[in-house]
């Protein structure tokens, strides 16, 4: 523990951090034996962290002192027990009283992810807290620490699939940027996981092990170029071994018609010529579609009138022009 911050911790947290979980439990029991009110005050200390509440849960049950918890800590404990499957009341605490639930979940997350207890129950509580905060409450502030936690757990061989799923459910390219930061990590496991989550093989960014910064910059350039056509696929580790969490809508890129929602939405052409081109485009192989969409982006950036003329040509001619164009660049 950083001694400079020790004053910010509750009494029970200080014992937990400095002397361990058993000493912390013993301290609570001893305080309770001597002075119940003081024990209650310790448990309701606003500075108490979720890891401390978590390790004391059995002790509190044994001493029957859960009733002394303040409302936030009480609700957090009930939520934790519900997620662990040990809450027998059948009450769905996560669905009752939105503000109070949000406050309890936020406290669980903020005080809980900084120092994870490497236990399945604990990690599951954090996973669900993150999932509900992100997907029910739309809390985007937790995206950076959630990304951090994914990489931290991955380094330790812990379970990450639900957290990854929660993060990608946001359908926000900010998530991609957060992950991309790890492409340049000096920790090989971070860089490998980042490349996997970003599906970097599909982006065409060279896998140059010796030049992490270049790879990171290359990915950001790819993202900038493709963001208008990017959509999130809803694929996950439950569905596939190497899920493509997001993809480029090649039809939209071909027509240079972006969407702001990052969901897959059908695209229609603006005029009859383009409509024919789009129909022909859909019949092309995946490789040809990629080539044409990239070329479309390129010439659109140079000259919109030239792009319109190119798009009106039969698709066979478009492909020839694209190939000649790329060859010319080489």
């Amino acid at each position: 523990m950083n001694s400079g911050h020790s004053k910010d911790y509750s009494y029970l947290d200080r014992i937990r951090i400095q002397e361990g979980a058993d000493k912390c439990r013993a301290a609570l029991a001893e305080t309770f034996r001597r002075d119940t009110r003081h024990a209650a005050a310790l448990l309701s200390d606003d500075r108490l962290t979720f890891p401390c509440l978590y390790i004391l849960r059995g002790q509190m049950e044994g001493l029957r002192i859960q009733g002394y918890l303040n409302p936030r800590h009480m609700l957090a404990l009930q939520i934790a027990n519900q997620i662990r499957g040990s809450e027998a009341s059948g009450v769905d605490y996560l669905s009752s009283g939105r503000e109070a639930v949000y406050s309890a979940l936020k406290w669980i997350w903020e005080t809980g992810c900084a120092e994870e207890v490497a236990e399945d129950d604990y990690e599951q509580i954090l996973d669900v807290a993150a999932s509900v905060l992100i997907n029910t409450y739309g809390d985007r502030d937790i995206l950076p620490p959630a990304a951090e936690l994914i990489f931290k757990r991955n380094r330790n061989g812990r379970y990450i699939h639900d957290l990854v799923w929660a993060l990608f459910q946001v359908h926000d390219p900010r998530v991609l940027k957060l992950i991309a930061e790890r492409v340049r990590s000096s920790e090989p496991k971070d860089a490998a996981l980042a490349a996997e989550l970003l599906n970097m093989e599909e982006t065409g960014v060279p896998a140059d092990e010796g030049n992490k910064e270049g790879r990171y910059a290359g990915y950001l350039r790819w993202l900038e170029e493709n963001e208008p056509y990017l959509y999130f696929t809803q694929e996950s580790f439950q569905y596939a071994g190497r899920p493509a969490f997001c993809a480029v809508d090649l039809e939209r890129k071909y027509l240079q018609k972006g969407v702001p929602s990052y969901d897959k939405q059908p695209v229609s052409a603006t005029d009859e010529d383009a409509d024919e081109s789009l129909a022909a485009f859909k019949r092309l192989s995946a490789g040809e579609q990629k080539t044409l969409s990239e070329y479309s982006q390129k010439i659109h950036g140079k000259s919109v009138p030239a792009w319109r003329e190119w798009l009106r040509a039969p698709v066979g001619e478009q492909i020839r022009a694209a190939k000649a164009g790329w060859e010319g660049d080489k």
Binding site: Q124, V128, S131, N156, G157, D162, Y239, R242
Partner: protein, 276 residues
């Protein structure tokens, strides 16, 4: 349409060898009537696929009967006589355990195990392969097994973790029901991996053997508040093992031919000795 060695194949030549309404018969009829071309080099290749698909169907039914419990990865359980539970909730074959015995134990002592739907699919594949291969071949081909959804799949099985667009959904395919508006509290119900069974039925671990409507009803009952989009069956994608590579591997005497053919240098490591 079935094509063998470049020529259209008439199923009458082999279909009589399979019982009426058998999985193999149904497969042969569906494939031969499809607009899709199913290509094989030999009849044996086709027969291997038919046999393995039938065993996948049977293994799915057997796993459903085994008592295997449903649990999220954080709560997964395994019989530690054969498996080590890894820190991310997967099961790794215990050092010294025979792969065939360890897989068979899941089917016979299912109640000692708990996992989620994707891992159950992988167990189904191993269970099916145990029936089509001799025990010696199975142990030789899969000396180390790791069970954790589609993560770290054996190279011989990697395709089962790669759903692709398909023209037909066939018996023994691994398919997926997606629940796009799942309740964030239950991410494990974001979808359901299933094995396609005869009679319009599916095996999904945790749900059991039932039809598509029932699976969709169960997933829909676990959507977030205010959800408007129903769960649905992804009817144009399926994951299939590479039947031809498995058939080839079963004939090969060399250990792990698929792996060795990819990377000839440095020289292959000595084959791990399996005690029998």
């Amino acid at each position: 349409m079935i094509v063998i060695a470049g020529s259209p194949f008439q199923i009458a030549g082999i279909s009589g060898g399979y019982p009426e309404n058998s999985v193999e018969r149904q497969l042969l009829e569906q494939m031969s009537q499809s607009a899709e071309v199913y290509r094989y080099d030999t009849v044996e290749q086709l027969e291997f696929e038919l046999a393995l698909r039938r065993e996948i169907v049977d293994a799915a039914k057997a796993l459903n009967r085994s008592g295997l419990e449903f649990a999220v990865f954080h709560k997964s359980e395994c019989n530690q006589e054969y498996w080590d539970r890894t820190s991310n909730g997967g099961f790794r074959l215990k050092s010294g355990a025979k792969p065939a015995d360890a897989i068979r134990d899941i089917f016979t002592n299912g109640r000692k195990y708990a996992t989620e739907c994707a891992t159950a699919m992988v167990i189904v594949y191993y269970g099916a392969l145990l029936e089509v291969f001799s025990e010696e071949t199975f142990n030789r081909l899969f000396p180390s097994i790791y069970l954790m959804n589609w993560h770290e799949l054996d190279p011989l099985l990697r395709e089962v973790g790669m759903p692709r667009r398909v023209a037909d959904i066939l018996l023994g395919d691994r398919c997926y029901f997606r629940n796009p508006e799942v309740d964030p509290k239950t991410p494990e119900l974001q979808g359901e991996n299933v094995i396609v069974l005869p009679g319009g039925l599916y095996y999904g671990h945790g749900i059991g053997i039932t039809d598509a409507d029932q699976i969709i009803r169960i997933l829909n009952a676990n959507r977030k508040e205010g959800a408007t989009q129903s769960a649905y069956f992804m009817e144009d994608t399926a994951a299939r093992p590479d039947f031809k590579r498995l058939e080839e591997a079963s004939r090969s005497r060399a250990a792990r031919p698929a792996v060795l053919s990819w990377d000839p240098f440095p020289p292959p490591l000595p084959r791990r000795r399996i005690r029998v």
